[in-house]
Symmetry: C2
Subunit: 193 residues, 2 copies
């Protein structure tokens, strides 16, 4: 009986992500989203509820894209040291390709909304837990393989790496020198040796 959705939901999310990424949550209007998705106003409200809900779907979509990039890269790594380098190199190439200085959508959102929207706060807490868990796993393996030192616990190093990635993403907004950034990453990773 129901008429099914005629638009491609993923394509709509992709377009909405572009806008939110470029302009931020508060800088994006419903009209911007209508224009970008070429969807009707009421279709957006019908399918996504409201602006905040749509944004949360966008965040998840963006996070999922990031994750599959990481997983794809990590599947090719044969040791912990390689794995960490792959994660940082993925971030490096994102920075170098980010010609319009948008930065990372998740970091941007964390600084814009974590203190305003409880739904965003818990998203960010889960995001950090997930990222730290992934990093902790890798560091832990590296410590067993004796390629990383054990001066700090794997969990402590994981929080350090998570922090470094956020810092790298912030620095990468203005600094696009591949040489500088590569050197920066080497310095960051030195402490693990």
């Amino acid at each position: 009986m129901p008429k099914t959705e005629t638009f491609n939901r993923e394509h709509v999310l992709e377009k909405a992500t572009e806008v939110f990424h470029k302009k931020g949550y508060n800088g994006t209007s419903m009209q911007d989203l209508v224009d970008a998705t070429s969807l009707n106003r009421s279709s957006i409200y019908n399918s996504f509820g409201n602006k905040l809900n749509m944004f949360i779907e966008v965040l998840s979509y963006y996070q999922q894209l990031n994750n599959s990039d990481f997983n794809q890269g990590l599947s090719k790594s044969y040791n912990a040291s390689e794995a960490i380098k792959i994660i940082f190199n993925i971030n490096l190439s994102r920075i170098l390709n980010d010609n319009d200085r948008k930065g990372c959508l998740i970091v941007n959102c964390k600084s814009e909304m974590t203190n305003q929207e409880p739904l965003i706060t818990s998203f960010m807490e889960k995001h950090q837990d997930r990222m730290v868990a992934v990093l902790e796993d890798i560091v832990s393996k590296g410590q067993m393989e004796k390629v990383f030192n054990e001066e700090q616990t794997a969990n402590q190093y994981a929080l350090y790496l998570f922090t470094a990635i956020q810092g790298l993403q912030m620095t990468g907004i203005l600094n696009k020198s591949k040489e500088d950034l590569t050197n920066l990453i080497n310095t960051i990773l030195k402490v693990l040796e």
Copy 2:
């Protein structure tokens, strides 16, 4: 002949800074600023031009406060290693006192507006140059004093430290554990030894 400003400009900037810091640039309305400063609409436009101009004055005001904190701390340091630790400890105590998870206004603004407002872009470039110069100075002294290694140039370490501070500020939005953050800072500084 002119009637002079009756309000205290610094007090107004302080109140405006609070609002912008809490809600971000796009999240703050002129009405918010009128309420916070208890200044009349037209007085604000008379004295600050427009919203963006007022925000830029707020940014400078905030930056100036930060700088005087740093200078006050650094004047008490007797070597380079102390100096770096003081800078990180100032950041640490700011994080621990930031009960409403606002983060750093400059970092927030960098991620919200650098790709949208040329005036902000150049502010951020100058800010980075200034911070890196200060850090480079300290690292350079530390290398001469042989308390820091010379595996990287002072400038490279300065960019690393600048990046680490930004990362620390991002992590500090959600993580307020003094133990975790102190450990994190120690890990960050280890590479200099």
